[in-house]
Amino acid sequence: MNFVIKRAGLVAAGALFFLGYLGGCATSPQTRLLVDNPPNIPAQVELIEVPFFPQLEYHCGPSSLASVINYRGTPVEPDQIAQMIYVPGLKGSLQIEVEAATRQFDMLPVQLDGKLESLLRELAAGNPIFVLQNLGLDSIPVWHYEVVVGYDLTERVIILRSGVDARVLRSFALFEKTWQRADHWALVVVSVDTVPATASADAYLDAVIGMEQVGRIDTANHAYSTALRRWPQNLLAHTGLGNSAYALGEFVAAESAYRSALMIDPQKAELWNNLAYVLAQLGQHESSMDAIGRALELDPDNRNFKDSYNELANWQ
């Protein structure tokens, strides 16, 4: 008996030493930054309207996603989402499937930049955040999806919907550690008329291009317009607007989008190529040949443009 207790003591001492090495010395630089330079946002925010779905065993992914999707006004049960993202063998859900499922609801999964301050800014703008956490250690991971619904700058706590708890408080410092162990992974789920407060153009367009790629063209088209309201000079957004309009058969809109893009960068050969196609669709054969000519001038050896030239020359 004594021996067992002694052994436990030894293990504990060993574990403590190990931890000192592993995580005990870990600091929370972002928390310190926040405390030293508090951002210009309300001291407390809590999005109490974010619905809570207590999770079934291992179903934190479906419950958390159901929470943010319902918040945007589309009713869905965690069970339905489980069918889209849960993998029984993994006892969990993969991040890429979380994003894929979000698109199925015509909502954009937009990645945040990994800054604690950005989470708070999103909350202040009314956006709950879907996060991955590693509640354990790097060497003993305990993966968990949660929804961040609030913060308190004075108390220095994050407020979460987590597992079977509708309201969990976690200190900034601890949250920073558990989040950092999950690579600061965070999504804001928005409908196509909204850009998350802190999203970069790249992160937002990444989500929109994903939508376009899986064939939700109409949704993507709408989101490209939204992107252009925030970033009017973004070449990729103009191009995406043109491509999605073209795919929808809205050729006049497509032409106008490509021309706007070419005003920003007239040297972009791909845009001349695509403009050539839209002009062909509009029955403007001569202008179409001019446009593909411009693409070939800029990039004479491009096989794709040569194919385009041949196809457009024989356009019916």
């Binding site: 934190c60 894929a100 509640l135 550690k177 194919d307």
Partner: protein, 120 residues
């Protein structure tokens, strides 16, 4: 009823047109223009999708569901996950843990497996 059926057919037809239009023409798609992000090798991406589907089915996902789920992934996502599916974090709160160590880390406030405990 007939109207509803017709409407469905129309929707399907519209979807097919939407997808087939750009492929007819040598259009450059948006993902290609996004700097160096997409490998234009459809053959290998299709094979990788099949592989992911096999993994999902092996993981206990219904085969019909797995087909739908794989289609919902973008090329970039397929490339990201391929051959690493078992190394990815899968959020699910798996409690296969070394209990003693984690109790101590909880007390130290380094982990948070038991929410709201100890009181913070």
């Amino acid at each position: 009823m007939l109207v509803k059926k017709l409407l469905q057919c129309l929707l399907i037809a519209a979807a097919v047109i939407a997808v087939s239009l750009p492929s007819r023409a040598a259009m450059v798609d948006t993902a290609q223009l996004q700097a160096n992000k997409v490998v234009r090798d459809f053959g290998s991406i299709t094979a990788q999708r099949d592989w992911i589907k096999e993994q999902l089915v092996a993981g206990g996902v219904d085969a019909a569901d797995a087909s739908l789920r794989v289609v919902a992934l973008t090329d970039a996502q397929v490339l990201k996950i391929h051959q690493r599916i078992d190394q990815e974090p899968a959020g699910g709160n798996t409690l296969v843990i070394i209990f003693l160590i984690l109790v101590i880390t909880e007390l130290m406030g380094v982990t948070d497996i038991i929410p709201n405990w100890p009181a913070k």
